[in-house]
């Protein structure tokens, strides 16, 4: 039994728990050449720098803005799509649409970004049409103002369909008799949705909302890394890319890992907090 368990356990111990020691360099002026033992310890110096670094705050603000946009536009999208799919009575049609909308989840970010560029860049399909119609051109890809809406549109394209799976399952588990008795009592479509459908999936919505809150400081690393360069750090920098550019590329390892550590701790703290809040509201939440 131990032999079955060991490989994966070693993985978790090394790459999840062992790696935590790597955060030690957050308290160092780390120089890769000198290593952890040779580098100078600077106490909380890196953390102090973090509070006064405008670039870091800018990245944090961008992250929060993107998160807020995702919560408003991306979070409800799968719920709406699931309710639409659930309302389809023709099984073959529903199954076909489901298969189609799950697919983008499995397509890599590189391809998704390539597709969006193909359609929306200054030489893309959309501008081809606009040009043919004599309407001029709009560059969505390289325009910093369009960056955040574009990021949200991409994530909706990629993962909205996939997000419906869990809601669909919850919707199918609703007792059909509840709908029937509501209908007999004279409830129309809107009232049935409000009094039967939504209460039935509310625990799930709360659960996923908690998970999303814990992720509020991560807004899609690969996706943004791929497109940050086309709009520059002013619009495109988020915390994860900030860590990558200052640490791995910029060589300021200790500082970047201090930012990463704060981000990780805040994220975990947010989940715990949101879970408590869910319990306060009488929901099951993520864990007890």
């Amino acid at each position: 039994m131990l032999a079955l368990l060991a490989p994966a356990l070693v993985y978790f111990l090394v790459f999840h728990y062992g790696a935590l020691f790597g955060y030690g360099i957050a308290f160092q002026d780390y120089v890769p050449f000198l290593g952890v033992s040779g580098s100078d310890w600077v106490g909380f110096g890196n953390f102090e720098k973090l509070f006064t670094d405008p670039a870091m705050w800018h990245a944090a603000l961008n992250t929060l803005e993107l998160s807020a946009l995702q919560l408003i536009f991306f979070f409800p999208a799968p719920i709406a799509l699931a309710m639409l799919l659930h309302s389809i009575t023709a099984a073959p049609v529903r199954k076909f649409v489901q298969s189609v909308v799950y697919l983008p989840h499995f397509i890599s970010w590189v391809i998704v970004v390539a597709l969006f560029q193909q359609f929306l860049s200054s030489t893309g399909v959309l501008n081809g049409w606009l040009g043919d119609a004599g309407l001029g051109t709009i560059d969505v890809i390289a325009n910093p103002d369009a960056f955040k809406p574009l990021m949200v549109a991409q994530i909706i394209w990629k993962d909205c369909g996939w997000g419906t799976i869990i809601f669909l399952a919850a919707l199918y588990n609703v007792d059909e008799q509840l709908y029937e008795s509501a209908a007999i009592d004279g409830a129309g479509w809107a009232r049935r949705t409000w009094h039967v459908t939504l209460p039935a999936i509310r625990p799930l919505i709360v659960l996923l909302f908690i998970l999303k809150l814990g992720d509020i400081l991560s807004v899609g690393f690969e996706q943004i890394l791929l497109q940050r360069d086309s709009v520059g750090p002013e619009a495109g920098e988020v915390l994860d890319t900030f860590v990558y550019y200052t640490g791995v590329l910029g060589g300021d390892w200790g500082y970047a890992s201090a930012v990463g550590l704060i981000k990780g701790i805040l994220g975990a703290g947010l989940v715990i907090l949101a879970n408590k809040l869910a319990h306060r509201l009488g929901e099951e939440g993520l864990y007890r």
Binding site: A8, S99, F106, W109, G264
Partner: protein
Amino acid sequence: MTVAFSSRRSTAEPKVKAPRRPAWQPAPHPAITVLKVLALVVVVALVLLPCLVVVSTSLAGQQEVIANGGWVIWPTDPTFDAYREVLTGGVVTRATLISAGVTIVGTTLSLLCTIGMAYALSRPNTFAGKPITLLVLFTLLFTPGMIPTYLVVTGMGLKDTYASLIVPVLVNAFNLVVLRGFFQRIPNELIEAAKIEGAGEVRILTRIVLPLSKAAVAVVGLFYAVQYWNSFFGAVLYLDDSAKWPIQLVLRQYVIQGSPIAGSLANAEAMVSAPNSIQMAVVVLAMLPIICVYPFLQRHFMSGVLTGAVKS
């Protein structure tokens, strides 16, 4: 030792109710129906049209692509020229092979490790099973960031090796929880009976548990395969040597950053005059394995994802 019931039944998908309109529900207003159909058509088109354009453009002749302004919805005279051009043993061919290798080796190793641990944690009598489960679940809450992981990978001497694409993401805690949930649903009597007959844990796992969990293993296998095939950032971080780049990184260079495709084209002229069909051919190559496997595994998603989600 034989197991007396079919694997098909025990891992059946959750029954979806017959979608007939119940008697109490009146037929919707025709306008509503029209709106619904319209919404569905738009949703499906938003997914399928881009894919169609990519595939069509990759199959179209160079002249047609140029005449159409860079893209084609339906090629009048399909040709495989673009594919022939990128798959002549150059960068794209090598990257495709690297990605395939990493995907096969990575998926195999990941599945072996995940199945082993999931099985051990699904048995009630495993030594320290509870604390180890908690240890794993905690990693869902707090993940070490990019830089500590980078230090571990370089510290182990994995920089610039293909192993750096596999080892740091070897086991996914979510996949582990999905499998553990599946294994837990297998009746304990079955396993006890096998034990009495003298079967060891490995034998129980391979002869009883795995055959009963084919759907879940298939879904988790697909998740891992997609993870490795799509792996992009690991390669950015750990592979300095561009000769080792997987397909996703090559794709970024050629399609997103628009660099010329080196070392795979017969003549430089073709690259300048028909970049789009060739770029799209690379996109299709990077999408192909997923499109091929997808239809076979798609029907297992619902059951596979749900047990994990509900149990955790």
